[in-house]
Amino acid sequence: MLRTSLAVLAVLSLSTSLVQAQSAWTGGDDLPTSPLACDGTPATPVAKPYDGGVPTNAPDRNGKQITAVDVPKLIGIGYFDATSKGIAEAAAELGNMTATTDGPTEANIDDQITLIDNYVTKGVDGILFAANDPVAIAPVLKKALAAGINVVGYDANSEPDARQWFVNQAEFNGIAKTMIDSLAAEVGEDASFAIVTSTFTTPNQARWIAEMAAYAAACHPNLKWLETVEAQEDNILSFNQANTLINKHGDDLKGILGMTSVATPAAADAVTQAGKCGSIAVVGLATPNAMKPYVESDCVKSVVLWNPVDLGYAAAYVLRATADGTLKPGDTTVKAGKLGDLSVINGSEILLGAPFVFTKDNIGGFNF
């Protein structure tokens, strides 16, 4: 009896010390964070010199017909269908650019590297990419730059010197603020929530989670983070992970944050099927079409995103401006067709704009 209770005590103390040791949110990265002010006062931009790469001996492409290839993280999902639609739209509008989309069928870094390598060998004028890993993709992008190819990233960055420009869909701290504010507004200031992400190493998701942790600590200190689970960008896995969270945490769980356009609808579906609409809030990044059923049934109140069609559209315009030489290191804005002037931030990034929250009132007006 004594031995049993001692063992129980030991296990208990061990588990509590484990819980205490686990103070930081998992899934974030180690980079420094810069949470926005709680009331939304815009941060003053910090001037930073150009830190992108430069292609070697690029031919004069000003105004000439160019061929570009778009290599997203993977093909066959709604999000990247939307970006490639935007790229095609911009290419049609420009008239002097042909763009094809070709990506791996799974979000696999090795396949993506091989694919880009082949296009470098084949010889294209420009490469648009969304990286599966910022460091792993760098050698092959540098090879493209060395071959005189213009390289522009969108959606998911590489190391800065491996590409010329990166079109940033939204600043990480902006998304983080919108996500946490929406969550706190729906579940209250002292509720517990969990996160469903793609993988802990996916650069965007890791950055958002780190920023969310910093923003929550500063502006919503009583929100309680339970855990972060990985679900690749896989439909079934995301559903299962969300379901596990619901069963595991029971009534403690008041909210689920979906970090990918796959995880959020899957989490909403899991909550709907568990009959927990209203008691568990789902807030997350997702495309409107996937979320319409849940938003219209009032199960989900806020869907956070930017417009991926605009993102692809802007990336294509930036590539064209880079090839033409009209966008040079040191410039502060770039013209992007119907989007107007976009501003240059962080040395070599172009900011698409502030994040957008889809709600029941406006979601019907979007179709992607």
């Binding site: 791996p104 069928t105 296009y119 460091v135 050698p139 802990f200």
Partner: protein, 312 residues
């Protein structure tokens, strides 16, 4: 032996045919640069496939190689960055762990009589899980420049890892084709009971083969990390299927007892040539996978047609 040669001949003809067709589709395909570069990209799967040939010739299979690759990749990073060991020692330790992981496969298969498919399916999950647990899902970066010679550099104009692959392939071909070891491997695959009664140390040979398979995966891990200059726990996912495809395309019978290293290397070349050539010719990646699947089935069908009178 004549029967064995036949599949390889068919395959060699197919490879030459593919090379000619692909070269006519893109002038960038048959350049020295591209060929060497493809060799570079092929090495990791190649190393694994060469040893996988031994495994499949014994009538077994090793599904855990991709996970061993991921585990060793993470360990190299952790040993070096978190534990502060010198990088060569970290790589050495990684190779030891990889070999040990293969050794465990061998033990589970021989001592506990678990079918290889199930045993390595189990360790596929086990090793990947350990890799993700150890890495805490963070990647290790910032390796010193000399390390990149292995995966990104070249020796005498040929990618470094291609030399390694060449050496491993030649040794493996000699061992499988011309030594008692090779004979024993075929004997186990043809009839394990007979091999046992002939006095062969069947269990010991199998353990050695699975350990080598772990070693090959570990070596591939070091090269992979050097090639992409970062370490991730999801590295090598799916590599086992690429390797098995190359081995089977190379004429190795999945039931054991038949297969050669030359066939496996030809299989590797055909797949890599198709992937690269079709991409250069403007076929998108989804179309390429479909074609590779079709080629695999077609080659096996043709080969079986010629062997209709033989056994298996």
């Amino acid at each position: 032996m004549r029967k064995l040669l036949r599949h390889e001949t068919i395959l060699a003809v197919l490879v030459v045919l593919a090379l000619i067709v692909l070269a006519s589709q893109s002038d960038k395909f048959f350049t020295l640069d591209n060929i060497l570069n493809q060799g570079r990209l092929m090495t990791e799967v190649g190393l694994i496939a060469v040893i996988m040939t031994f495994v499949i010739v014994t009538g077994g299979i090793d599904l855990s190689v991709g996970s061993i690759l991921g585990l060793v990749a993470i360990l190299i990073g952790v040993f070096w960055k978190n534990m502060g060991l010198p990088l060569p020692m970290a790589i050495g330790l990684g190779l030891v762990v990889g070999t040990f992981a293969g050794f465990i496969n061998g033990i589970i298969i021989t001592r506990f009589r678990v079918p290889p498919l199930i045993a390595t399916l189990g360790t596929l999950a086990l090793y990947r899980g350990i890799a993700e647990g150890i890495s805490e899902a963070r990647s290790v970066r910032g390796y010193p420049d000399w390390f990149f010679v292995l995966g990104q550099g070249q020796v005498l104009g040929v990618p470094t890892q291609l030399w390694l692959f060449g050496i491993v392939a030649v040794i493996a071909a000699i061992v499988l084709g011309y030594t008692t070891w090779g004979r024993a491997t075929y004997a186990i695959g043809s009839n394990e009971t007979a091999a046992r009664f002939s006095g062969l140390r069947v269990d010991w040979i199998k353990i050695a083969i699975y350990s080598s398979s772990g070693f090959a995966a570990a070596l591939a891990a070091a090269i992979f990390v050097s090639r992409v200059s970062t370490t991730r726990s999801d590295m090598g996912a799916g590599v086992e299927l690429d390797a098995i495809t190359a081995v089977v395309l190379g004429g190795t019978s999945i039931f054991g007892g038949r297969g050669t290293i030359v066939g496996t290397v030809l299989g590797l070349i055909l797949i890599q040539a198709l992937k690269n050539g079709l991409s250069l010719a403007g076929v998108k990646s989804d179309g390429t996978i479909v074609l590779i699947g079709a080629v695999l089935i077609l080659t096996i069908l043709i080969s079986n047609l010629f062997h209709r009178n033989g056994n298996r």
